[in-house]
Amino acid sequence: MAIVFKKPESLTDNPFHYCPGCTHGIVHRLIAEVMDELNIRQDTIGVAPVGCAVFAYDYFNCDMQEAAHGRAPAVATGIKRVHPDKVVFTYQGDGDLASIGAAEIVHAANRGEKITTIFINNAIYGMTGGQMAPTTLLGQVTVTSPYGRQAETEGYPIRMSEMLATLAGVAYIERVSVHDIKHINQAKKAIRKAFEYQIAGKGFTMVEVLSTCPTNWGMTPVESLEWVKDRMIPYYPLGVKKEAE
């Protein structure tokens, strides 16, 4: 009997620890499928973040390094400079990339480091228990913005993809979502293109993935997917932000 669906080789057998309805698992799988399809698993070195995806080194079936909070682009830079022939990716959340690691991502992008960053934006800190992130929407209630995020005191949700797309070193940035099948398919295409551009040596590549956090949003998984569609996408428009020739 033909096998029509199986776990990608680029994922280990370790069970994910993610909450029900969290989309980290989907994005992990998409990356792994792309690694399988491009046949790069043996040549890929991944960098895991601090945050909910801190154990990503247990899940991706390739050589991995665990970075300090926000420093994954610097760690990836060190790896890529030593092994320019390998494929290097970082997997980072919004607190990691847009807050504590803002300098590292800006300068890795600006140097045109030939790495791929998968940026999970779920508008909240997940692992530490639902604190306000730089990407938290105005009015959104978190444990550290209990009255809703206010622009006057907490500033505005930051659009990292648009900001980084202004940098000359960037080869490709696209924002995608994983709230339904159609968008999941589009997300996979974007991830594949980012890896292909890296392999072609075009420069820095990033895919921002709008994701869910049912646990800290206080919603059911289905409500969370609706919230991505109805609340996040209007503020964080999907699409290609930059694509080099």
Partner: protein, 355 residues
């Protein structure tokens, strides 16, 4: 090979290249700027990579990545910059990655000054970053020794999978001396089969990591690292004893200060005062046993530690002396360098019972 006249900072850089270091990540700060400048020029000539990072924080994390990828890699900075690197240093120690970190110390705290100091001793030997760990800290007192220890330091780091720090100061970094880049007998080093080089399935999957969420596993991890430290203490402790036979007063000093103490020994001899020097070359591991071996001698009346700080190494000296003889301290700080005559005065005060 014949001797060449070189500035300390440039000698460090050349020694690193000759030791096979091909990757340097750093950020500008005085008084160590000649190291990155030299690396920026020389590394591309030998197929290496120099990268000026956006911050010291980024630089040390680039070192983490490159070391984890199996490269011989270094960074250099000076006191405020080394403070910024402490996060990464703790992760590097936790993930057991070999690398060389150079601190050309300047006066502190805060922005402090840019003149030579030894006030980062505690930070270097007692931790600096969070958690249970040690750096191996090497303290050269001449530029020749700096060259030798840089080359040795890379091997020590690789042998034990532990970061090594060269603790210099602004004086050693900026002065010029003749140096020789000697042919070295390299150590037998273990293969870096743990490095992330791309996994073909011919070894276990490489994971560079310092996270152990199960406390029992973390305790075992730290205990295993501390077993390694016992081997380092046994094999790598280095110290120089000078003129200690018959010495009434043994002065303890490292780096630049030890050079000044040599002059003091000559001055004292002219006045018939017998002074010796114990010069720790490894600050961690600290040569405590050497102090113990001299402390019981009848001719030794007291110990005096001299530092360019308000007194940091003196705590380790006093611990090693263990109350068996008096242990005194004299120091200048903030970038001020002790004067040999002032040190001699201190020695006379100790002899005369005026301390």
């Amino acid at each position: 090979m014949s001797k060449v006249l070189m500035k300390g900072n440039e000698a460090i850089a050349e020694a690193a290249i000759q030791a096979g270091c091909r990757y340097f990540f750093g950020y500008p700060i005085t008084p160590q700027n000649e190291i990155p400048a030299y690396m920026a020029k020389r590394l591309p000539m030998v197929g290496g990579c120099f990268l000026q990072a956006e911050s010291e924080v980024a630089a040390i994390n680039m070192v983490y990545g490159a070391a984890g990828a199996g490269a011989r890699v270094m960074t250099s900075s000076s006191s405020p910059g080394i403070s910024l690197k402490q996060e990464g240093i703790s992760y590097i120690a936790g993930a057991e990655l070999p690398c060389l970190i150079v601190n050309i110390v300047r006066g502190g705290p805060g922005l402090g000054g840019i003149q030579p100091a030894q006030s980062d001793y505690f930070q270097a030997v007692k931790g600096g970053g969070h958690g249970d760990y040690h750096l191996i800290v090497l303290a050269p007192s001449t530029i020749q020794e700096m060259v030798d220890l840089v080359q040795e330091g890379f091997d020590i780091a690789d042998q034990y999978r532990n970061p090594v720090m060269i603790l210099g100061d602004g004086m050693l970094g900026q002065m010029m001396e003749p140096v020789e880049f000697k042919e070295r007998k390299p150590r037998q080093l273990p293969p870096k089969d743990w490095a992330t080089t791309g996994w073909k399935g011919d070894r276990p999957r490489a994971v560079i990591n310092s996270l152990f969420i199960d406390p029992q596993v973390l305790e075992e991890h730290v205990q295993r690292i501390y077993k390694k430290y016992e081997a380092i203490k046994a094999n790598e402790t280095k110290v120089e004893c000078y003129n200690c036979e018959d010495a009434e007063i043994i002065v303890s000093a490292y780096g630049t200060t030890a050079r000044i103490v040599r002059s003091v020994i000559e001055l004292a001899a002219k006045e018939g005062i017998k002074v010796g020097l114990i010069r720790p070359i490894t600050l961690w591991p600290f040569p405590a046993d050497t102090f113990s071996s001299w402390v019981e001698r009848d001719h030794v009346k007291a110990f005096l530690t001299v530092e360019m700080s308000m007194g940091q190494m003196v705590e380790d000296v006093t611990l090693s002396v263990g109350g068996r003889k008096p242990s005194y301290f004299y120091g200048r700080t903030g970038g001020m360098v002790p004067n040999p005559f002032d040190i001699l005065d201190e020695i006379k005060k100790i002899r005369g019972g005026n301390r």
